[in-house]
């Protein structure tokens, strides 16, 4: 086995099968959701006519579908690399997949059969006040879908926790807390274990928050006289939602730690600043969510101040050690710029640039003007489309790299198209936000339409690139010999 595909990455038949299911399903769903996104953007740009109720159904499916799928695909990145260091059970990985698919079915049925269109954030009391557009049952089905997905992730995280505890003693040692203040730092401690320890802690707490608020909303749906405190519900929803989507980048980034060194020929080792960064982010990810509530003047003042300050600092430590590490790793290394390496570097750019608008919007005085404008989709599409998705794609290309190294069309056409289209697409959102075009509006004023049209063109380029990637990867995965992944030797 080559250094690019070491022996300890070999997949058994069963593992290869489950991983293929993850990869192919994630790609298929991402393409469909992107098409939903394009339809929305073109509708805003008056190029096509979409009735508002359908627009909001598409928006709900797109939000929930994308967030869920990126979470699922990132968990595949974490699973693939973490299992090299600890003993994970493929059955739990498969259970996550099955529960996810059941949840996704419930969500799709709720949206497209039941007509639920209250947004992926199911903010109370909207799901139960549809003014007759959808029934309480469909809102409830949507929430049940989330519960199923949550249980799936929980099972996967518990398996990862168990494995880390078995090998390292406890999660603190997995995170490397014992080396924060001194001691003989073990430089061979894998960054993948540090990142995974962080993710299982924060996302289990996120899932707990979700489990509480979802069931309370379900109770309220059928016992409406029991009014919930809307602010508390919103706090819990954003705690859970923010932690979940944030955790996706912290799972996906493992691909950068693992893959870049293969091409640069330099090890990525842990250092004390690296461990500090992950430890601090573990705490900050949990308390940063109030930046979603800066408009809620009834929130306790201290929480809003905390939301602003932590917004500045939350993502920064891990981002700095990762971006600095990536640059140091490739600088004058004579790196071979294969597709996974390029995607890993692209993700550093997307992450870096994507958090700038977020930090600006996390400032209370700016937020009062920019919140609920398209500036916000501008920020998160930036870091999800150009940050997280490239990390996930890096793993996918890595899987087929041994058998079908991507070059030619993917390198010369796909990647530039993806980057260019992505920049146009997110740039249009940010620019529209800058002129105060509101987010989540099915119909736009004539002044905003040009932004929507430019955004649509960017989206088309992105979709063409993703179709190219998806075809290449899926053919690579399913192609002979055998249909397990490229290096599934057994």
């Amino acid at each position: 086995m080559s250094a690019l595909h070491p022996d300890n990455e070999t997949l058994t038949r069963g593992e290869g099968l489950v991983l293929n299911l993850y990869v192919i399903s994630a790609l298929a769903v991402v393409v469909v959701m992107m098409l939903f996104g394009l339809i929305m953007r073109m509708a805003q740009g008056t190029w096509i006519n979409v009735p508002p109720d359908i627009f909001y159904q598409l928006m709900t499916a797109h939000g929930a579908g994308m967030v869920g799928t990126v979470g699922l695909a990132s968990s595949a990145v974490m699973w693939f690399f973490l299992r090299k260091y600890v003993r994970l059970h493929v059955a739990m990985f498969a259970a996550n997949y099955v529960l996810f698919m059941l949840g996704a079915l419930a969500i799709l049925a709720a949206v497209f059969i039941g007509g639920y269109a209250g947004g992926w954030t199911f903010l109370y009391p909207l799901p139960v006040h549809s003014m007759g557009v959808w029934s309480v049952n469909s809102a409830a089905l949507f929430m049940v879908g989330y519960l199923l997905i949550g249980v799936g992730f929980l099972v996967f995280y518990l398996d990862a926790m168990l494995a880390i505890i078995r090998s390292y003693g406890n999660l603190g040692r997995g995170l490397g807390l014992q080396w924060l203040f001194g001691g003989d730092l073990d430089k061979t401690h894998p960054p993948a274990v540090v990142a995974s320890s962080m993710v299982v802690i924060v996302n289990s707490l996120g899932i707990l928050g979700g489990a509480i608020v979802l069931v309370m909303c379900l109770i309220n749906a059928y016992v409406p006289s029991l009014a919930l405190n809307a602010l508390l519900v919103k706090n819990l929803i954003y705690f859970f939602g923010h932690v979940f989507i944030n955790a996706s980048i912290y799972m996906a980034v493992i691909a950068v730690y693992e893959l870049l060194p293969r091409f640069s020929g330099r090890l990525w080792t842990v250092s004390r600043p690296f461990l500090w960064a992950w430890a601090l982010t573990t705490v900050m990810v949990l308390i940063v969510y109030p930046h979603h509530l800066l408009m809620d003047y009834v929130m306790p003042h201290w929480m809003l101040v905390m939301g602003q300050i932590i917004s500045y600092t939350s993502g920064l430590p891990v981002f700095v050690v990762t971006a600095y590490g990536a640059l140091a790793n490739v600088y004058r290394s004579g790196i071979r710029w294969s597709v996974p390496a390029q995607l890993a570097m692209l993700s550093m750019f997307g992450w870096a640039a994507g958090i700038v608008p977020a930090i600006i919007d996390g400032t209370i005085s700016v937020n009062q003007v920019m919140h609920n404008t398209q500036w916000v989709p501008g920020h998160f599409h930036f870091y999800l489309l150009l940050g997280v998705l490239p990390m996930v794609l890096a793993l996918m290309f890595h899987l087929i790299d041994a058998r079908r190294p991507a070059g030619g069309a993917v390198l010369r056409l796909g990647l530039p198209l993806y980057l260019l289209g992505g920049l146009i697409f997110v740039g249009a959102f940010l620019a529209a936000g800058h002129v105060s075009a509101p987010r989540r509006y099915a119909a736009h004023l004539p002044q905003w339409v040009p932004y929507d049209q430019v955004g649509s063109i960017g989206a088309i380029l992105v979709i063409v690139a993703v179709l190219l990637f998806a075809t290449y990867i899926i053919v690579g995965l399913l192609g002979a010999p055998g249909n397990a992944t490229a290096h599934a030797a057994r």
């Binding site: 300890n8 168990l162 078995r166 090998s167 707490l205 899932i207 109770i219 029991l226 693992e258």
Partner: protein, 202 residues
């Protein structure tokens, strides 16, 4: 288990159950909703857990066949607990002898006993899911009691109901912190088996 320990457990369970039936004790523990839910019921649960020692030696290993990883027992305990989370039953248990008797029988036998048999069999993952659901339930019940605008029980007042809500939320928080601390810094000697499969190498 030694005979002496067995006799001790059975004796303790019997004493506890008898003690909890004594009018002054029962009266005090039923005087408030908070005491009933946070003292009387947990003590009945403990009595049931102690009864595990009374089971004939052959039964526990035999039951493993239909209690895969403790899942059956924990599901039974969960389903039975759901009934005793209903305020209506808490209320009736004070005023209706039949419900009162059902409580004294079912909490030990359908919750405490199955839990104590199944918990040791449960894997880390089963325990994790069970614990997360328990903590979530503490928060949900606490929240419900805190916001319910009316008295739910004839026997108890609104302030009692809301105090119970506060305590449930606090217990949920404490459980959450304790579990997180255990996972981060605790010892898991029983689990430790495999050293790291590999260190960072690419």
């Amino acid at each position: 288990m030694s005979r002496a320990r067995r006799a001790c457990s059975i004796g303790a369970a019997a004493l506890l159950l008898l003690g909890l039936r004594m009018p002054p004790v029962k009266g005090a523990l039923e005087a408030t909703m908070t005491a009933q839910m946070l003292l009387l019921m947990p003590l009945l649960f403990v009595a049931g857990a102690l009864l595990r020692a009374a089971l004939p030696a052959r039964i526990v290993p035999r039951s493993a066949a239909w209690d895969y990883r403790g899942i059956t027992g924990l599901v039974l305990a969960s389903v039975a607990s759901v009934f005793w989370l209903l305020p209506r039953l808490l209320d009736s248990a004070v005023s209706q002898p039949a419900v009162d008797a059902a409580r004294y029988v079912s909490i030990p036998l359908l919750i405490g006993l199955p839990f104590s048999v199944s918990w040791p069999r449960a894997s880390f993952i089963v325990r994790g899911v069970f614990l997360l659901e328990c903590v979530a339930t503490l928060f949900r019940m606490g929240w419900l009691y805190l916001i319910w605008p009316h008295r739910l029980c004839n026997n108890y007042l609104l302030d009692d109901q809301q105090r119970l809500g506060q305590y449930l939320v606090l217990i949920g928080l404490a459980a959450c912190i304790a579990i997180a601390a255990k996972l981060l810094w605790g010892r898991f000697d029983a689990l430790a088996e495999a050293p790291p499969r590999a260190s960072a190498q690419h």
